[in-house]
């Protein structure tokens, strides 16, 4: 059989034989199973994945009736933002960007987000965000979230008031690093609850916590506590928790939520604490390995996500942006790879959304 045209994790096009693709799929699922201590994909599922990669068409898709819901992060920054925000620099207002997504991009939901897309910088200008949300909510039909990143790193020096664990840990100051993280987490929780409560005053339909745990277990801890508090006092506000990476980095190492240690958690474990905190939708991340092929990466992602879906009692909207969810690490991810990841996650991992 002729070689299959596929890609590496960095987007580079490569040719692989059918047996090489088969081996890559097996290796990918095995890697996920070993790391996560979860089941590998079955032979039927691997054959189904192989068929997706054997398909010679540029674009592949799911069958009618299998379609899923898409939630969006990053607000409208992909339109008016700069490269650092994955943006294309079109000078649109945020309201225009939201309506473009609703009317032209077939978005199922949409999100308002600040240009400095983290909770800490939003706090001092929250009135601006409230009024922007009020206006957008009058004009939109699709559900409208407000999104921001917990981004615990903004609380550490030099950007914030607390000691920086990245400086303290190499000096062997473990106790000081842990204290700093715990203090920062407390402030971050307070700020996230404050911002959410102000948006609640203008009837915000939902909050999206984007790139949760980017700064490790303390970041995750702060977010879980914020979600729990929000759900206690504002239960009608929907909450989506989207992750930053597949694995919770133990920058602190001794932080627990409901008796479960957060450091070292994989998606199927992360979802359980997110559920316990009260969130409505969970967005797992599986990181793409640029040195491996896309068949390897997709098989790995599907293995992790399938198990996460199986153990979850809330909808799973897997992250499938650049470099995650079986999508190549490239600014403009190739459409052939993107649609293959999409199809695999919907048909085999049985996600509730993307």
């Amino acid at each position: 059989m002729a070689n299959i045209l596929t890609r590496m994790g960095d987007g580079e096009r490569v040719q692989m034989s059918v047996s090489e693709v088969r081996d890559a799929l097996l290796a990918g699922t095995h890697d996920a199973a070993q790391k996560g201590k979860i089941p590998e994909l079955g032979s039927d599922e691997l054959e189904q994945l192989l068929e997706i990669f054997l398909d010679k068409n540029r674009i592949v898709g799911v069958a009618p009736g299998e379609e899923v819901v898409l939630t969006h992060d990053i607000g409208t920054l992909r339109l008016m933002g700069d490269q650092a925000n994955s943006g294309v620099g079109i000078p649109l207002s945020r309201l225009q960007g939201i309506l473009v997504h609703e009317r032209a991009f077939a978005a199922d939901t949409m999100e308002l987000g600040h240009i400095d897309y983290s909770f800490k910088p939003v706090k001092p200008i929250i009135s601006m965000e409230m009024q922007e949300y009020e206006t957008a909510a009058m004009m939109t039909i699709v559900p409208l979230f407000y999104g921001a990143m917990p981004n615990l790193g903004t609380y550490y020096r030099p950007d914030g008031p607390f000691g920086n664990p990245s400086d303290l840990l190499p000096q062997g100051k473990v106790r000081e690093a842990r204290e700093a993280q715990l203090e920062a987490a407390g402030h971050a929780t307070r700020d996230m609850v404050y911002v959410s409560s102000k948006l609640h005053e203008v009837a915000c339909e939902g909050i999206n916590f984007d790139t949760t745990a980017a700064a490790g277990d303390a970041d995750f801890y702060a977010t879980l506590n914020a979600v729990a508090e929000i759900k206690k006092t504002m239960p009608e506000m929907a909450i989506e928790v989207g992750m930053a990476g597949e694995f919770i980095l133990g920058m602190h190492g001794e932080l627990f939520f409901n008796g479960q240690r957060l450091a070292g958690m994989y998606p199927h474990q992360q979802v359980k604490v997110v559920e316990e905190a009260g969130a409505d939708i969970f967005g797992p991340v599986i990181n793409t390995n640029t040195s491996r092929s896309m068949p390897w990466n997709v098989a790995r992602a599907v293995t992790f996500v399938k198990h996460t879906v199986a153990v979850s009692s809330i909808p799973i909207h897997v992250n499938v942006g650049m470099g995650v969810g079986g999508v190549p690490v490239f600014e403009t991810p190739p459409i052939d790879s993107t649609t293959r990841a999409s199809k695999a996650l919907v048909q085999i991992a049985k996600v509730d959304g993307l």
């Binding site: 674009i59 969006h72 991009f105 978005a107 909510a137 039909i141 699709v142």
Partner: protein, 104 residues
Amino acid sequence: MPIAHVMASGMGGIRTAGDLVARMQMHRKMKLPAAKKYVAERLKISVTDLSDEQVMREIREDLDIGIITSVPGSAKGMEAKARIAALLDLEISTVKRFRSKTFF
């Protein structure tokens, strides 16, 4: 890039019933099959028809719950959301606020 996902596997937002199914996930934590079943039952159609543009355009016009193209006189924004809230028997916070501010 989201457009690639929309084309491959997205429901299609207000082109079809994507926004309606999304609301059931957000507000009632419904997983996809349950969310689709609920919306399909409320609309009295099959689950497959939920993502059929031809079927859903007629339904959205008849129910006046918002359509993609800008037809003068069709419900837009808050008008459409209020009708969606009633259709799905869902309390949508922005609609509730609108009602409280307008005495309806």
